[in-house]
């Protein structure tokens, strides 16, 4: 099975051909982003005189810098909150066999099924009444709650497979519950925390519907909404739009390439739950 046979070579060629087909849109994305708008040759012909002017213009006119900072802030703060409250909640939910514990767990798991479209409109009204429309704090609050069910589900599944011995020993040694959690349980949760961190970061960063609702009409934007606004503004100026798309993709892909192993394992890690 590990020998490199003729069949393996054939498979290698087929797979590389498939990868070329998959990568074709990315080629066009870069090719058009570095092309002057006056160049009207075929989109698949390599650009003859590449320019970076589109990037400079997209950056200045799209407000992408501010959107990038907002996206970073919203993602970092809300993911930190979600990981903290969910791991904390998972501890009694995984350990206690009392009725309230099972009931609470099932109630939170209900959130896995409820589509956010159902809560989005009544919550829109609440956010408006609180005067938080157009503020990125409405998003932080929203994601901090929305991501609780999935994250708690991951943590509870992982904790149930862990032995209780260490935390019981810590309690007998006189540790309070918070100290036992912080110094005994939390370190053991590291693998699932990486998974939860990756999955939450990607879904919060990429979300479009929520900021579309809660930030529309304000000058506060996240990256996905800024890109959509940019497309609306420069309708058919595709060279400029492609430069903006590429700018929004670069930070994500840079992090992905840097942490590819943890990220891919994070996505595959939900499997163990």
């Amino acid at each position: 099975m590990n020998r490199y046979t003729k069949g393996t070579l054939a498979l290698e060629i087929v797979m590389i051909a498939v990868a070329v087909v998959f990568a074709f849109p990315v080629y066009v994305l870069i090719n058009l982003a570095i092309r002057a708008p006056s160049d009207t040759s075929s989109p698949i012909a390599p650009t003859s005189s590449p320019t970076l002017a589109n990037f400079a213009q997209a950056w200045q006119e799209g407000g992408l810098g501010g959107a990038l900072i907002n996206s970073l802030a919203v993602t970092a703060i809300s993911v930190l909150i979600v990981l903290t409250v969910s791991s904390l909640a998972a501890y009694p939910l995984a350990r206690s066999t009392a009725h309230w514990s099972r009931g609470t767990f099932l109630l939170i798991m209900l959130g896995l099924i409820l589509p956010f479209q159902l809560a989005a409109l009544p919550l829109y009204q609440t956010v408006r009444d609180l005067g938080l429309l157009g503020s990125i704090w409405s998003l932080v609050l929203f994601y901090a709650g929305l991501q609780v069910p999935f994250t708690t589900f991951l943590y509870v599944g992982f904790l149930r497979a862990l032995p209780r011995d260490f935390e019981e020993a810590a309690t007998i040694d006189g540790c309070g519950p918070l100290t036992a959690f912080r110094y005994v349980v939390l370190p053991m949760l590291k693998p699932i925390t990486v998974t939860a961190l990756v999955l939450n970061t990607v879904s919060v960063w990429n979300d479009f519907f929520t900021p579309l609702l809660y930030l529309s009409g304000s000058d506060q934007q996240t990256m996905p909404v800024a890109v959509a606004g940019f497309v609306g503004q420069f309708v058919s100026d595709w060279n400029l739009i492609f430069a903006a798309l590429l700018i929004s993709v670069i930070p994500v892909l840079a992090v992905y390439l840097l942490l590819q192993r943890s990220i891919i394992n994070g996505f595959a890690g939900g499997l163990k739950g």
């Binding site: 099975m1 490199y4 393996t8 498979l11 290698e12 797979m15 590389i16 498939v18 990868a19 066009v28 989109p43 698949i44 909150i81 904390l88 909640a89 009694p92 939910l93 995984a94 350990r95 609470t104 109630l107 939170i108 209900l110 959130g111 409820l114 589509p115 479209q117 159902l118 809560a119 989005a120 409109l121 009544p122 009204q125 609050l141 709650g145 069910p149 019981e168 810590a170 309690t171 007998i172 519950p177 036992a180 990429n206 479009f208 519907f209 609702l213 990256m223 996905p224 959509a228 739009i241 492609f242 929004s248 892909l253 992905y256 590819q260 891919i264 996505f267 595959a268 939900g270 499997l271």
Partner: protein, 289 residues
């Protein structure tokens, strides 16, 4: 005795409060509003019973959107997982480029869906790269997103392009649980690759299949970003889904009650799909183990 003391109940309070405030209470209010004529602004609204729901069943656009939602979800599930499995078998082999290919094919899955959708809107346009490519092979181009018969399938194509690598990664994790010894022993005993896949690999893949089907069918039912960016539900209503109608009815037409009744319909569909899948797949998983 020590058990209750190690993990006190109040640890669950912060998560429960956030969850209740953001998901549980608004969802419950949503279900209530579905039976009212609430317009999103006026605090004075009245209960109107099932009127919003009968309006949905009387609205050909809404019924069509329900059909589109189901069609898109099923098409994405079948095609994305089929391709994802083939890719997984391809990269889980002795080929030299396997690690590179895994990283490359998964990459679209981390990119913002609204961004990939805008990219494809241009690629599939009348003067786009797809038609230019077809012209090289002397194939006449089409208006992929402007043709009501094709547009829905283009949405499926874009989602599959982006997330086939995601399915692949989960299948690869499943494939790695298949013991090589058993696989090789079967090969020595003379079973062909198809037979080996069906009898040895497939049962061990059951957990990966469960996760993949669950993710793609629920993701497909809720799909919004790609439809919004690629077609906006058009041409006409040819690609409207429940999610795009919810958005349009609430935020461009101000019909919040009707919109939220649609969200209730969406919730019911998601619940039925989850429950159905859970029953069928857990039975299969038990049978396989």
């Amino acid at each position: 005795m020590t058990r209750t003391r190690t993990a006190p109940w109040w640890f669950a309070l912060p998560a429960l409060t956030l969850f209740a405030f953001v998901v549980l209470i608004p969802s419950a209010r949503g279900v209530y509003y579905a039976f009212t004529d609430w317009d999103g602004l006026d605090p004075a609204f009245t209960l109107i019973g099932l009127d919003n729901f009968t309006a949905i069943t009387d609205d050909p656009d809404a019924l069509q959107a329900v059909w589109h939602t189901l069609l898109i979800a099923v098409a994405i599930t079948v095609i994305q997982n089929g391709i994802g499995l083939l890719l997984a078998l391809g990269v889980n082999s002795a080929i030299k480029s396997r690690n590179f290919l895994r990283v490359l094919l998964f990459a679209p899955a981390v990119v913002t869906p609204i961004v990939t959708a805008y990219l494809w809107r241009n690629l599939l346009g009348p003067d786009g790269a797809v038609n230019s490519l077809l012209a090289l092979f002397c194939i006449a181009g089409k208006n992929w997103l402007g043709d009501p018969d094709l547009a829905l399938w283009m949405i499926v194509l874009v989602v599959v392009w982006q997330f086939a690598g995601y399915s692949m990664v989960i299948f690869v994790a499943g494939l790695q649980s298949v013991p090589k010894e058993i696989y090789e022993a079967a090969a020595i005993d003379g079973s062909g690759p198809v037979r080996r896949f069906w009898s040895i690999v497939r049962p061990l893949l059951a957990p990966a299949i469960t996760i993949n089907l669950m993710l793609s069918i629920i993701g497909g039912i809720k799909l919004f970003d790609q439809v919004y960016a690629l077609t906006g539900g058009g041409p006409g209503h040819a690609t409207d889904t429940i999610s795009t109608l919810i958005y349009k009815d609430a935020f461009t037409l101000g019909e919040f009650g009707y919109s939220i009744a649609l969200a209730v319909v969406l919730t019911i569909i998601v619940a039925i799909a989850s429950a159905g899948q859970y029953t069928v797949l857990s039975r299969n998983e038990r049978a396989a183990s």
